[in-house]
Symmetry: C2
Subunit: 248 residues, 2 copies
């Protein structure tokens, strides 16, 4: 069994996902917002490539059932209901709704996972839940690929640090798990920052850019380990929560 | 001023090299072999994309002046004079010759640096010489990009570790130098392995593959800090040694 980390969702090749359990991380902020939405009762989150795709898709659904969400250059998209701040995805706003989301890096990374056995959206806010799933998959003989969405196809420190926390703990007390070079590097980043996740974010270019753009509180929200303990699974082009839904 | 590390030469964008001082690292083994060749008296090293390109180019030159070198899947190319092992580039073999070299990851990374102010080929074997040049460039106001060639467009631990050694030391006692996320991650890798460079290589996938393919001694050669203290500059599509040439 092995755990491979891939930097940049755009760089994903079919052999890196085929038959594997894939975790997609865009911790600032798409994967955090998706976990928040599902934890707060959204029926589903549908990732879409562009704002136009989201608007087109919304027209096929009952308008009152749908929320349009996402960002371009960190900012909310004009005419959309929500931006990409996890703090916006409250129960009052999202409960019972289908969220159509489009973000710069997160949604393309999710779209590139075709052929995977399972795709889960991972972050700090749903850390333990997703870790448990990945560990079970690994013990069941699956190979794992952790995709760091990154930023504009570049390496992003915050995604790598989050991936490192998964890598380090998923292999604990398991022998003979192979790590690729990127997975080893991620472990070192996690070891450096540990629980000082806001410090990790503030060291990262994207974290600093978010703070400079007025989203400093999002860093705290995205660093709150296990605050939204859901397992968001991507299947049939939509993300839903694993497990019983209180609504049904 | 800033130092950016880029993982994967294929991912280089013009804005990452334009007007900058660029260091290209493919430490296992192309950049080490290039330093060895120039240190041992090769007139020039010409990086070429494919074996066919190398053969075609050789025909335009006096055959006795030329050596064909390189690898595909780590192994020497049939009909070529040399593989990609730095231990082959001895003074007896390369002195006075022009070396045409084609390698899987190193030569494409070098080719992608068009528009840079200066391009230098960096490794452990010419570490202090290249560090001195980069530091001088930085103090003179230049921005620096360190390109980790990587392996098959993937992140490679050994190139990142070598890049980290440059990053950590080039900024020493200089204030206000910005590092991108990848540069910070590389520093952590360098901090983890320090002078245990063979251990770094043995932790890397490419290092293990080389050892398994019978090139274990190359790891030791590539880890020998300052054993070939040259500054290899890429200009007009060829790499020559900065400074006086004993031959002329």
């Amino acid at each position: 069994m092995r755990i491979d980390v891939v930097f940049g969702g755009a760089a994903l090749t079919p052999s890196e996902v085929q038959g594997r359990v894939v975790a997609v991380i865009d911790v600032l902020r798409a994967s955090t917002s998706i976990a928040a939405a599902l934890a707060n009762g959204a029926r589903a989150v549908i990732p879409l490539e562009s704002p136009d795709d989201a608007v087109t898709r919304a027209k096929t659904l009952e308008r009152s059932d749908v929320l349009l969400a996402g960002e371009r250059k960190m900012l909310p998209i004009p005419g959309f209901d929500l931006g990409n701040s996890p703090r916006e995805f409250t129960r009052e706003v999202v409960e019972g709704k289908t969220v159509l989301i489009t973000t710069t890096n997160g949604t393309p990374a999710i779209a590139n996972t075709q052929g995977a056995r399972d795709v889960v959206i991972a972050s700090y806010v749903n850390y333990t839940a997703v870790l448990a799933m990945l560990r079970a998959a690994l013990r069941g003989g699956a190979d794992i690929t952790v995709v760091c969405a990154g930023r504009d196809k570049q390496f992003a420190l915050e995604d790598a640090g989050c991936a490192g926390r998964y890598v380090s703990n998923v292999v604990k007390r398991l022998a003979g798990i192979e790590l690729n070079d990127a997975a080893q590097a991620c472990s070192l980043i996690d070891r450096k920052y540990g629980d000082q996740i806001v410090r990790l974010f503030e060291a990262s270019e994207h974290g600093r850019a978010l703070r400079d753009a007025g989203f400093g509180e999002d860093l705290t929200a995205c660093a709150a380990v296990d605050s939204y303990p859901v397992i968001p699974l991507y299947q049939d082009r939509q993300i839903t929560k694993l497990g019983p839904d209180r609504e049904r």
